[in-house]
């Protein structure tokens, strides 16, 4: 909160992060021709949308949102997505992985997970929509490769990130220039940590999909995570279905996003848990990042989020 001393005002950490994110939105939306915001219904993309709404208030958000739909969504997240775009009166574009699998452009992976399959539909949607500025909710505290990515990240016409050839990012002067066919990914939450996100959700009373809070669910234990049993995950031999009180720390493909056991039913309670957690959110709940030490870097080079 703002505290006024005799002469100067000290901005809180959240106020400074919020101001920076708004600055990034305004700067890049002004320089870009056709921005789009990647919206998954996950907490980071929800916070991003909340900040975008503030940046242009009282005018509506001046760009559409794009959802890359793996086809393995949590139903409550899809419902939340539709409710949110309706409330904010913004246009929703959807790129469906299922369409690509149906017509053979992509093949289902042997393990059945689809996070890695999102790259092609994403890049096609960016090209078709002629989007030159693409907002993503990635944070640098999430992962080592992300720690090295700029706030404005240039992608070539193949959508690739070249970590060895990044533009220096100086002061708060952002350079969004690119050649035809190239685009920039913009990460307004770069400097936020998981703790900042939850503090902000708590402070602002931001609405999230219900699965971020404790609920009863049928789960199995696999690779040290609790996976929801349903259409996309069935118990293998030696795996038993149990009912547990769980919540999700990240929201992704149902087949590879794990839940954690937790009794936290409110943002305040989740915040308290995050403060004392001993595991990173990706380490705890994302099977796709456990593939190798450089799994994220390899996917980013190919044009992933």
């Amino acid at each position: 909160m703002t505290t006024t001393t005799s002469e100067s005002v000290t901005l809180s950490q959240l106020q400074r992060l919020e101001a920076e994110s708004i600055h990034i939105f305004r700067e890049t939306a002004s320089e870009g021709e056709r921005p789009v915001l990647l919206f998954s219904g996950g907490k980071d993309s929800v916070v991003m949308l909340h900040l975008a709404a503030k940046a242009f208030w009282p005018a509506p958000i001046p760009f559409p949102v794009l959802h890359v739909d793996t086809g393995h969504n949590f139903p409550e997240v899809l419902e939340f997505r539709d409710r949110t775009v309706e409330r904010l009166k913004i246009r929703l574009e959807v790129a469906k992985v299922q369409d690509y699998i149906d017509d053979g452009r992509l093949a289902e992976r042997p393990d059945g997970t689809r996070n890695q399959l999102q790259t092609v539909p994403l890049l096609d949607a960016i090209t078709e929509g002629k989007h030159d500025v693409v907002y993503g909710g990635a944070r640098r505290d999430e992962e080592k490769a992300r720690a090295k990515e700029r706030i404005i990240s240039l992608r070539d016409e193949f959508g690739q990130w070249d970590p060895r050839n990044q533009r220096p990012e100086l002061w708060s002067l952002y350079n969004t220039r690119h050649r035809p066919g190239e685009h920039v990914r913009v990460f307004p939450l770069s400097n936020w940590t998981e703790l900042d996100i939850w503090s902000y959700i708590t402070e602002q009373g931001i609405d999230l999909p219900p699965l971020y809070y404790a609920h009863e669910r049928d789960v199995i234990s696999r690779d040290g995570m609790w996976l929801a049993v349903g259409e996309y995950v069935s118990p293998r031999e030696n795996e038993t279905v149990e009912q547990r009180t769980v919540r999700y720390r990240t929201v992704g493909d149902m087949s590879c996003t794990g839940a954690v056991e937790s009794p936290a039913t409110t943002a305040e309670e989740v915040l308290a848990e995050v403060m004392t957690s001993t595991l990173t959110e990706r380490g705890a709940t994302r099977a796709d990042d456990r593939v190798s030490e450089a799994a994220m870097e390899d996917r980013k080079r190919e044009g992933y989020f």
Partner: protein, 446 residues
Amino acid sequence: MSTENRASLLRIATAGSVDDGKSTLVGRLLHDTKNILVDQLDAIERVSQSRGLDAADLALLTDGLRAEREQGITIDVAYRYFATPARSFILADCPGHVQYTRNTVTGASTADALIVLVDITHGIMEQTRRHLAVGALLGVPHLIVAVNKIDLLPDAEEAFRELSGQLHELADELGVLDLRIIPVSALRGDNVVEASQDTPWYDGPSLLSWLENLPDSSELTQAERFALPVQCVIRPQSAALSPEFVDYRGYAGQIASGSVAVGDKVAVQPAGRTTTVERIDVAGAPAEYAVAGQSVTLTLADQIDITRGDLIAEPAGAPSGTKSVEAVVCWLDDEKPLREGQRVLLKHTTRVVRGIVGSLDGRLNLESLAAESVESFELNDIGRVTVRVAEPLFTTAYTQSHALGSFLLIDPQSGRTQAAGMVQDDSVNTPGVLGNLRADAGEWAI
């Protein structure tokens, strides 16, 4: 730890030469402040073991890219986040090899404090001079030299004293604003988080405790004159909105310096008009008052033609327009050198204009700290230039305002960021290395 306790945020950058243990120091800082989580520590212990190391190699915490792990080096600026009960930190870890100046300038441009590592067994290297010069040029409020590897010398005290003397002398020559020298062993953790028992000859603070107690530089920025570069004009124009906003015309931007209150008189450039602030919205909510660093939207009492790139500022002492910019630049482009007559784009605040490099007025020689005459600036060079621009810019000397005194040079074809620029005003007496780059300095060869 509550949100209130996390109120204070400090941005720091680290710079060092290859092999002086910087990644280890950063790893140590994260580890000893308990900011490494169990799965991260597990992962680096696994990798360290598979490489035959006895202890976890803390450098692996920051070296995340494939090539970095393969070559055992750090490639690019990495950003780290850690917190102690006293403060939160954003750390820009700047590697010190090929693109050393580029990385250090990047990290230092947003830093409240810059930590330069020096290996006590090597003393002051060319890169030490360069890092301190960059810290001085970019006006980083607090410089810290961490003298590392004190565990390697039997008589570290004597070596530390001698090195401290040399560092203070160099810092004075360069015009460093505030220097602190701390003896550390990143490997063992001496004086990094806890004050070491093994350095009875050093009675100063540990690195972390120094960082925790540095004053926040935003106070200084708030004391400057009010300036708001306009990012965009916000006009809802939609009948669906509440009638209150039908005529709303707001000028959005992040306050670069000073503060503003409803009813304040402001000058608008380039329109050259004066008007009154009618309404202030901060992040979507009305406010009476706003300060530097906040993203705001102002509405004004008079209808004035204002667009992106314009400046709303306190009328007294507001910058007047110039079409010739005198500046010191750090050349950061590894593909193309800077030459006279080169066409560039110049981004200053929210305004991008076409420019032509008029003349190269000398390059800084880091050995002599004097200016020398050259035909071109290559990667990592620091020097003085004049740039003519197509439209007026409303600049202030960098030493007076970082926000109104900084700019980028951009290659018009590729869009690459080529240089970090700092506006100079020779009518103001500038001490240190910037003063050496004055257009009328004695060493100047034109």
